[in-house]
């Protein structure tokens, strides 16, 4: 079986909102709505840190991290359980989707979602340009909508738009049921969290924090999902060695393929947002 999942490396995320914008463009998300938001872990307001400035020669305690948040595509999705008409459902590949023809707009799913990941079309959706954007049909007034992991792209073997448009390579998409997939390797190797784990929803979205990962493999000018073998550990080795970590492996010229045990170059860094 395939179970699609997403890893977001918070150490790589720079809070640029490219994921939010590309999601809106690709999925024809109406004006005023967001399926994908970049929240801030730290201060009470967006883009503000917690802690204080240095005083009396001290180092200060300012701390901030970006936390992109969308539908978590939960294994135990409460939104699916409360939908009286079965408009919200889980696909065989783990993606939680909405059948907009069935949705009656009761919004029970919105109340049940602990992640505030769903939006409701109160009015006739407006788009800019008026004809809409991207490759997805506009949803009508009176229905709930949300992130689909770009299922229309996934069905074509492509990664979600937010993944391919992340300039920091902070988003990695793949098959959680495949132990050799990059997402599975990263979850095994790095410290990951799921949001609101105490709710028991078991999201298929994981967040890396602490140690920065190599990020989304950039091994070709093709999409990750278009390649048969793109894992940085595709030679069968487990995790990258310290030596490989220190040297990195930058692709050169027109050919972007990696050979042997080379891994994508990533500057090592501790927790982001400390400065």
């Amino acid at each position: 079986m395939t179970k699609h999942g997403l890893v977001i490396d918070q150490e790589r995320c720079i809070g640029c909102q490219a994921c939010a914008v590309s999601c809106k463009q690709e999925n024809n998300v109406p004006m005023g709505q967001f399926w994908n938001r970049v929240l801030t872990e730290g201060g009470e307001k967006m883009d503000t840190p917690s802690g204080g400035y240095p005083e009396d020669g001290g180092s200060g305690s300012l701390d901030m991290q970006y936390q992109p948040t969308a539908c978590q595509h939960c294994e135990n999705a409460p939104c699916v359980k409360v939908c009286p008409v079965n408009a919200t459902y889980t696909r065989d590949d783990g993606i939680v989707e909405i059948d907009y023809d069935k949705c009656i707009g009761c919004r029970y799913c919105m109340a049940a979602c602990p992640y505030n990941a769903r939006v409701f079309n109160w009015d006739e959706p407006e788009h800019m340009p008026e004809g809409g954007t991207g490759d997805v049909e506009a949803r009508p007034q009176g229905v709930v909508e949300k992130c689909t992991f770009c299922s229309h792209r996934v069905d074509e073997g492509l990664d979600p738009a937010c993944v391919v448009n992340c300039p920091a390579d902070a988003r990695i998409f793949g098959d959680l049921d495949d132990e050799s997939s990059t997402v599975s390797k990263y979850i095994d190797t790095y410290e990951t969290d799921q949001l609101l784990e105490d709710r028991g929803t078991d999201p298929n979205t994981y967040y890396i924090s602490g140690e920065m990962s190599p990020g989304r493999p950039q091994t070709s000018d093709k999409m990750e999902s278009e390649l048969e073998d793109v894992s940085p550990w595709s030679d069968g080795d487990d995790v990258p060695s310290e030596e490989a970590d220190s040297t990195g492996a930058e692709s050169s010229g027109g050919s972007h393929s990696l050979s042997g045990g080379e891994i994508p170059y990533a500057t090592s860094a501790k927790s982001g947002g400390d400065d």
Partner: protein, 80 residues
């Protein structure tokens, strides 16, 4: 409409107020929606089974929506 500027996820002790506000002007039963949302999280937590959840709300869902197509229906459960 969701607030794209929301800086954080809602702590559970504040969630119920938000859920009520979310369903306040819906044309369906607000209390039923909040109760079902609360218990759906309990199902996710393992504090309640799918079958218990389905049976608890079956009549109310039928009354409110005229149908109950939730995927939690246990095997052998008979619709009225």
């Amino acid at each position: 409409m969701s607030d794209p500027q929301q800086p954080r996820l809602t702590p559970i002790d504040e969630w119920e107020d938000e859920a009520e506000a979310m369903l306040d002007d819906v044309e369906y039963d607000t209390d039923l929606g909040v109760q079902m949302a609360r218990d759906a999280i309990r199902v996710s937590n393992g504090e309640m089974t799918d079958a218990e959840f389905h049976e608890r709300y079956h009549e109310a869902v039928l009354d409110e929506f005229g149908e109950d197509e939730r995927p939690t229906k246990p095997e052998g459960f008979e619709d009225d």
